[in-house]
């Protein structure tokens, strides 16, 4: 046992090496940029760490930030495993949020009765997730049956979702309260809410659920027939076809599950955190989710770690800006650099003289599909 265990541990550490060095390098370059624009990088990063981990409240907020990142990161990672590039997490998230907000505030009125939580909450969550799943499955179906590339179609679906959401939140779904000045829905009913874990802190059960879903995604991909089929289609669609896998249906299903996971990110923000949907809260989640999936090497547990790191940076960034006047946008630059170094690990391997890895992620198979 001892020998095998040591070998596994060595493999694990080896696979963590490049992402860790990528993070460190990005943070160093970020520090240089901060110094160039006249800030003190050490003070800035101290503020960042304090804001992210310095107190119970800071930890709670980091978890709150990390929660949608976990769901959306898992969504992108699962699609990657199936050989699909889902840039549409943002749109799927928005659709999930809009649908669950609608069910959350309007359903009791439609039925002229108040609902017990064990009926209302599952409906709110379930229909929101379904919305995200459909939003993801549409580009999947287009890819499967017409060859329309999912990269462009998911992005178009983002803009369509954004337009529809803007229309709904400025029109039919806008909170009719005369004191309301922004594009947001009314608050959802108490029976559709997921409670916080500790009184006084915002961290909620949606975070715990995200961890469980990560385990579920790992189980789905590694231990089930469906997961095997998804991975086979991702690795080699032609071989999958010869092996008797229904590749078209598999693509639609993969994008549907991916969309459901991204939709979950929006649903949880509505049911567990904001208790309403507001315009513009989801901007940028889609691209962040891609970075998280790549940093986590498409491994569900890696995604959780990457999501917590990104959540900590976003959360701590606010305190950093408050303490040092360095714009919080520097976080986006650092995150882009992390993605750059993870994607082009040859750069990191060159800088730190590490032997080249075996696997290389290849997604691009031209536009024909």
């Amino acid at each position: 046992m001892g020998h095998a265990f040591v070998k596994r541990l060595k493999e694990l550490l080896n696979s963590l090496l490049v992402p860790l060095l990528a993070i460190i390098t990005a943070i160093i370059i970020g520090g240089i940029i901060i110094a160039i624009v006249g800030g003190n990088p050490f003070a800035a990063y101290l503020g960042l760490a304090e804001g992210a981990f310095g107190s119970a409240k800071a930890l709670s907020e980091t978890a709150v930030w990390a929660t949608p990142y976990i769901y959306a990161g898992l969504a992108v990672a699962l699609a990657f495993k199936g050989g699909l590039f889902n840039i549409g997490a943002e749109g799927q998230l928005a659709v999930g949020a809009v649908v669950s907000a609608l069910i959350g505030y309007a359903l009791p009125g439609w039925l002229h009765t108040s609902l017990p939580w064990f009926i209302h909450l599952p409906l709110t969550v379930g229909l929101g997730v379904l919305g995200g799943a459909i939003w993801g499955a549409i580009p999947g179906a287009l890819k499967a049956y017409t060859g329309g590339h999912e990269v462009i179609n998911t992005i178009m679906m983002n803009y369509i979702a954004l337009n529809i959401t803007s229309f709904l939140l400025n029109g039919p779904m806008r909170d009719p309260n005369p004191l309301n000045l922004s594009a947001k829905t009314p608050d959802i009913a108490v029976s559709a809410r997921i409670p916080p874990i500790f009184p006084g802190l915002r961290v909620h059960w949606g975070f715990v659920l995200a961890l469980l879903i990560a385990v579920f995604v790992w189980w789905l991909l590694q231990k089930t027939t469906l997961g095997f089929e998804i991975r086979t289609v991702g690795a080699n669609p032609d071989a999958a076809k010869y092996a008797g896998i229904n590749v078209k249906w598999n693509i639609i299903l993969t994008m549907g599950i991916s969309g459901a996971l991204a939709g979950m990110a929006g649903v949880i923000e509505v049911t567990a955190l904001n208790y309403r949907h507001e315009l513009g809260f989801s901007i940028g989640y889609g691209f962040d989710a891609i970075a998280i999936a790549l940093l986590g090497k498409n491994n569900p547990f890696g995604v959780v770690l990457a999501a917590i790191l990104f959540g900590a940076m976003r959360n701590g960034g606010t305190r950093m800006q408050f303490m040092t006047q360095i714009p919080v946008d520097i976080i986006s630059v650092i995150q882009a650099l992390i993605l750059l170094f993870v994607a082009a690990d040859a750069i990191i391997r060159f800088i730190y003289r590490i032997r080249p890895g075996e696997e290389r992620l290849v997604l691009t198979r031209g536009w024909g599909g």
Partner: protein, 356 residues
């Protein structure tokens, strides 16, 4: 560019023009409306045309570029920043500042492209991921610098955005622009004229020159091209950088020609729509340009319908909603990509890294 595609393009544009003519005919003459629509269409199509030409050079040489959006955004910001610096700090004349801005925009587009080329050609990163890196990096850098430069501690502009030196002036074609009513079409701003000229130039370069032949060779069959002594890496690098400069010019359109301000995320999907135009145009300059015109017309439709808002009959009330009309370009893009109008054939080695 086959006749079927051409017919679809003419048909779709005609429907959009007819809608506006129908709605606005009680107030303006059809000729005036069509002229106004056409002038808007050509102008709005400019960044899409340049974005599509950018993609054309990259993909004809075998490099998929989904980073056009980021290249445009970065160029829009740096071009605008350069123009403001020239005008406010160095007290240059507005027109000189704007011209410097255009060159800086092209330069920064070229630099982003250099990064994309290094990632996809030298480091052999998956090209779609490489493009995504460009997009995220551009959003981060422009967002950070926009706030730091103008509102950050020690900002040279003292906490406010200074007056930009306006936009590039219109250039009228002699005689043609003097024609009553429709003369307006022949008064466009310089980047718009440049885009039209570049469509013709690109067609000539890609299909009639030795450079174009070599570019297409490395995009179709790099191994064969290598065998006959063409430097595959060099051709790909140069074409991707040319592409980046064109995307940069498209970004310059947004902040130096269209409006004189910068907003985070202002490219708003234009880079991706340009890619769809390229695919619809079957990787040809004229095809891509005509597809860009369809998107331009969709946006002209939205703008003009807002203008005639009050005149829209109740039966077409849905057109009063700018969010609904705003969906048109995105849905069009998806319909186009579904191959509704026939399959398109990308360069054979598009998206594949070349290993010597």
């Amino acid at each position: 560019m086959d006749w079927r595609r051409f017919a679809i393009i003419v048909f779709v544009i005609a429907i959009m023009f007819a809608t506006v003519v129908m709605v606005g005919s009680s107030q303006n003459s059809p000729l005036l409306i069509i002229t106004s629509m056409l002038a808007t269409t050509i102008a709005v199509a400019t960044p899409l045309t340049l974005g599509a030409l950018s993609g054309l050079y990259c993909e004809r040489s075998g490099v998929v570029n989904i980073g056009i959006e980021g290249m445009m955004l970065g160029a829009a910001f740096f071009g605008w920043l350069a123009a403001i610096y020239m005008n406010t700090i160095f007290h240059m004349a507005p027109i000189v500042s704007l011209i410097v801005g255009v060159f800086v925009a092209m330069l920064s587009g070229g630099l982003f492209a250099l990064l994309h080329a290094a990632l996809s050609i030298t480091f052999k990163v998956d090209q779609i991921i490489g493009g995504t890196v460009i997009n995220i990096l551009a959003i981060g850098i422009t967002g950070f610098l926009n706030r730091q430069m103008f509102f950050g501690a020690g900002s040279v502009f003292g906490g406010q955005i200074p007056h930009a030196p306006g936009v590039l002036p219109r250039i009228a074609i002699p005689l043609l622009s003097k024609i009553p009513t429709i003369g307006r079409i022949f008064e466009q701003q310089p980047i718009t004229w440049a885009a039209l000229i570049l469509v013709v130039v690109t067609h000539f370069v890609i299909f009639k020159t030795r450079w174009g032949l070599r570019t297409r060779a490395v995009g179709e069959h790099p191994r064969a091209a290598d065998t006959v002594g063409i430097n595959v890496y060099r051709m790909r690098y140069l074409n991707v950088i040319i592409g980046g400069m064109l995307a940069g010019l498209g970004g310059g359109f947004l902040t130096l020609e269209s409006i004189s301000s910068f907003e985070p995320l202002m490219t708003n999907g234009r880079g991706f729509i340009a890619l769809a135009a390229l695919i619809f145009g079957n990787w040809t300059p004229f095809g891509a340009w005509s597809a860009a015109l369809v998107f331009g017309a969709a946006q002209a439709l939205q703008i003009n319908l807002q203008f005639f808002r009050e005149l829209i009959p109740p039966s077409l009330a849905i057109l009063q909603n700018s969010y609904v009309v705003g969906l048109a370009p995105y849905i069009l893009t998806m319909l186009i990509l579904t191959g509704l109008i026939g399959r398109t054939i990308p360069p054979a080695a598009d998206g594949q890294a070349y290993e010597k």
